[in-house]
């Protein structure tokens, strides 16, 4: 594997540079998605009737193919990272909103009553009781959203080389170096699996009261 990690200079990044770029382009949208879906999910829990329409909207957004999304946004944001990240953030909502709603709804009413009896206000109850109990469900959603986001970034290559590791695919074709394509696919897949493992670890650390063994999803 001589030079497996040596990239053509037109990529303007080292291998690790591209990995960093890829992670940023994939993870920022998920973070944005999480920040949006927390309040949205809370609204859905409070007012049950808005949950079905919210689900409908996120499903419709998710159905729109990434390439179509990207090219329409070019008109507003140019061929930039922002153009790639906005659709990814919107896609993450379809997984995160239901995950958070289910998680928060699964908190037993007795627990909520106990928190109230201990004098917790609504805000403190949300952050110290509901969110921690919902953590496993939320992280299960984050795992799906993160892994999909990491694999989707590569499509950004089609709109002016905004695909981070995906840009290697273009060079693999024009320079006839299949190894570059293999490298790109493998690296993206490995990044996805590593991110998944990190999130599992985070869940274990966040929920020390849960049994270590046994299957959660």
């Amino acid at each position: 594997m001589n030079g497996f990690f040596d990239l053509p200079s037109d990529l303007q990044h080292s291998y690790l540079g591209l990995v960093g770029l890829h992670l940023r382009e994939a993870l920022l949208p998920v973070l944005a998605g999480l920040l949006v879906s927390l309040p949205v999910a809370q609204l859905c829990v409070r007012f049950r009737w808005i949950y079905p329409p919210v689900l409908g909207v996120t499903t419709v957004l998710y159905a729109i193919p990434s390439l179509a999304f990207f090219v329409v946004l070019i008109d507003y944001f140019g061929q930039s990272e922002t153009t790639v990240m906005i659709p990814l953030a919107l896609y993450s909502l379809v997984v995160l909103v239901p995950a958070i709603v289910d998680g928060v709804r699964s908190v037993p009413p007795e627990t909520l009553a106990a928190a109230q009896a201990m004098g917790f206000g609504a805000v403190r109850r949300y952050f110290q009781v509901q969110l921690p109990i919902a953590a496993p469900a939320i992280i299960a959603g984050l795992r799906v959203a993160t892994v999909s986001s990491i694999s989707l970034v590569s499509v950004g290559m089609l709109i002016g080389n905004q695909g981070a590791l995906g840009n290697m695919l273009y060079d693999a074709q024009i320079y006839h170096r299949p190894a570059l394509a293999v490298n790109s696919v493998l690296t993206i897949a490995v990044l996805g699996i590593l991110a998944d493992a990190v999130l599992v670890l985070v869940r274990l650390l966040l929920t020390p009261w849960m049994p270590r063994k046994g299957t959660t999803r």
Binding site: L67, D75, I150, T215
Partner: protein
């Protein structure tokens, strides 16, 4: 000029409505590829998912397949296959099927697993053979989830088939890719509109299918 004007201009140009690069031809191509890939993926994923769900074995292996399926970048796989095999139908079909199998497989497994055990036991107690327990009790109850797995797969296929225009496949993605190269933004937006329309139509078809096939009792309970 905004996006709507571009789309308007694209659809009003009569040259886009006939010939080998006309909208009807491209639309039919896209639909054909997508259906073929979905049928192949369902033929692989459904039987395995139903069987493993029925017997309850292999859950961990399936969870691994699910993560691996999500982690593999569809676009990268597409380009890699074309570099290895060359242009044609096969290098495109392989990634489409590989990406569609995990959601179908894993969702149908989980769907069958999550069926309430008491009616299943009742069916067994009444002397139903295993095949009838699966098809007359478990599958009807699990149908909404099974359909949602197929829906996810179908949406991913439609979306990936769009990207496949980059490696020479026909279909609606052609307008986007060609338009980008020709710096013809009208064409790009027109193609994007059509693709989004097809994806929404896919959603609608699955919504209608679940209305028609899911038994009213199951729908009310779920």
């Amino acid at each position: 000029m905004n996006v709507l004007d571009f789309a308007h201009a694209f659809f009003n140009d009569s040259a886009h409505w006939h010939g080998y690069d006309g909208i009807p031809t491209r639309f039919t191509e896209h639909l054909t590829y997508s259906l073929e890939a979905l049928l192949i993926a369902a033929a692989i994923g459904l039987p395995v998912g139903l069987l493993t769900g029925h017997t309850g074995r292999g859950g961990n292996a399936l969870a691994l397949i699910a993560t691996a399926g999500r982690a593999l970048p569809s676009f990268g796989l597409l380009v890699l296959m074309v570099i290895w095999i060359g242009l044609g139908m096969l290098p495109v079909m392989i990634p489409l099927v590989v990406l569609a199998v995990p959601p179908i497989l894993v969702t149908s497994y989980e769907a069958i697993r999550s069926v309430d055990p008491s009616p299943v036991d009742a069916a067994r107690g009444m002397g139903m053979p295993e095949a009838r327990v699966l098809f007359q009790v478990e599958v009807p109850v699990a149908l909404p989830l099974i359909l949602s797995g197929l829906r996810t797969a179908a949406i991913q296929i439609v979306s990936t088939a769009t990207i496949a225009a980059y490696v020479g496949l026909g279909g609606l993605g052609r307008y986007i890719i060609d338009g980008l190269y020709q710096k013809n933004y009208e064409k790009v937006v027109g193609g994007a509109t059509l693709v989004a329309g097809l994806a929404l139509a896919t959603l609608a078809v699955f919504w209608a299918a679940s209305r028609l096939t899911v038994s009213p009792g199951v729908r009310r309970g779920g």
